[in-house]
């Protein structure tokens, strides 16, 4: 029996009530949100419930939404995969600034570096992570470069005018 999205939604709603919300089919992947306080338990539920069995963490990433309200400044996106039924699922949790969320390293060993990367680039603090320090950037760096306010280029450059390349504040 294939794993139906309606079944997943029903099980999650039963277990977590209104802590899980916005169920939606985003193209081929079933997507929903969980509140930051329950995200760890939701992931554990998805992984350990026998009929759900999302045993593989494909990806974990941060996203910055500076234009959102104060409670939705950052998102952490978990993409899980059940290889046996071949079903993917995407879980999001939105966080305020400063962002803080429970680590999932106790459930997936591979979350270790993924969370370090999210900390490095977005400054999302993963509570309970065994070694939360920068990974791709140098230790001495003070900012989190994937935040939208961090400029890609040195603002003092005069040799390059973005208007000549078709870029205006409206389209990039």
């Amino acid at each position: 029996m294939a794993l139906e999205t309606a079944h997943i939604q029903e099980k999650l709603s039963q277990a977590f009530g209104n802590h899980v919300l916005n169920f939606e089919m985003k193209r081929d992947i079933f997507t929903f949100e969980a509140t930051p306080s329950t995200i760890h338990e939701v992931i554990r539920f998805l992984k350990e419930q026998e009929d759900l069995n999302f045993h593989f963490l494909t990806d974990l990433t941060g996203i910055h939404f500076p234009d959102n309200d104060a409670e939705h400044q950052f998102a952490v996106v978990y993409q899980l995969h059940n290889w046996i039924e071949n079903v993917r699922i995407r879980v999001k949790t939105f966080l305020p600034d400063p962002a803080e969320v429970d680590t999932v390293t106790d459930l997936f060993l591979c979350a270790n570096w993924m969370e370090r990367e999210a900390w490095d680039f977005f400054g999302i603090n993963f509570k309970g992570h065994p070694q939360l320090k920068r990974i791709l950037n140098m230790e001495e760096m003070v900012s989190h470069p994937m935040r939208k306010e961090f400029p890609m280029e040195d603002g003092g450059r005069t040799d390059k005018d973005d208007r000549f390349f078709g870029r205006t504040p409206a389209n990039c």
């Binding site: 985003k26 996203i63 996106v77 890609m152």
Partner: protein
Amino acid sequence: MSDLLLSPEHRYAKIIEKTRNEDGSELSILNLGPTHPATHGIFQNILLMDGEKILDAEPTVGYIHRAFEKIAENRPFYQINVLTDRMNYCSSPINNMAWWMTVEKLLNIEVPKRAQYLRVIVMELARIADHLICNSILGVDTGAYTGFLYVFQFREKIYEIYEEICGARLTTNMGRIGGFEREWSDEAFKKLNIFLEEFPVAWKEFENLFERNRIFIDRTVNVGSITAEKAMQYGMTGPNLRAAGIDYDVRKAAPYSSYEDFEFDIPVGKSGDTYDRFCVRNAEVWESLSIIRQALAKLPEGPIHADVPDYYLPPKEEVYTNMEALIYHFKIVMGEVPVPVDEIYHAVEGGNGELGFYLISDGSRTPYRLKFRRPCYIYYQAYTEMIKGGMLSDAIVILSSLNVIAGELDA
């Protein structure tokens, strides 16, 4: 890094002090990398050694981090392709095609069958080039240089085929949104046919040199084993996972670019050690050759790109003579083509595993967020555990059998 090594606060310093006081043994620290000829890339591992035995390792990555995700947020879709080349530079066409397929999925573009088949051919060629390098370098690291020199000429042949297709060799920037930029030349097919004749002979000889070779077996069997559960926990995909016995392959699990039209097996190993990884890659090369032959035999006639003038730059001579072409050229270059608001995850089977692109589009010219799921970055975490308790020379062999590519690791 130097103060880290000298610092009495470092955990290695404490361990060394403790064992010296307990039983008088002298542990030492060895700094392997970041630039070392045996690591084939820029990785640093600070090893805690007891004689020649590795007790602990601390990996440092990020030496060639180029902020691709940040750059991608500031570039239109068609300019991001050149960033993907530079991730797994041993099999750039796979990365290129994966990126185009992600964009096509976002824009709902149906690619013609011929273009899909040609993509399959070039992706499998890239996989052969990737596995060929990994396996022959593994030979070099165990002391057999001949095999490497012998098969390396065929990577050159593959690069010549790339050259015929797109003009570039290593960082190919191949294809466009919707298909290819031009029809493959006759020369490309000629070279491909010669390759399909000559390469299997050489690859068979290469296999014979290694698969039953006493020295090679002694150096690789039971070296760096990993169980299926651990491999899954560490997020391994691709040949490294299949060597541990799990038959997960994106080409079968979620076929893209008409992979469902071809018959091929997924080779799996058993113990997840270095020898199994070698054998899985060898077997995959044979499967890739078979897929290329099937694709060539079934190759349909027709256009090589989808009819999407909004996203596909028109030929230059038409831009000068044709009104529509000029308008489309202008619109594409100035970034005035419509892009839907959506969220896409597209994965392909890269040389090292599941290569995924997670693209969030807010309807503007550039991605709002683009995350590369780089298989190397994720499974390199397992390296520390795999080398613990082994010999230093085994650590080198394990590193090359994992096929960790620095460009993909650091993005």
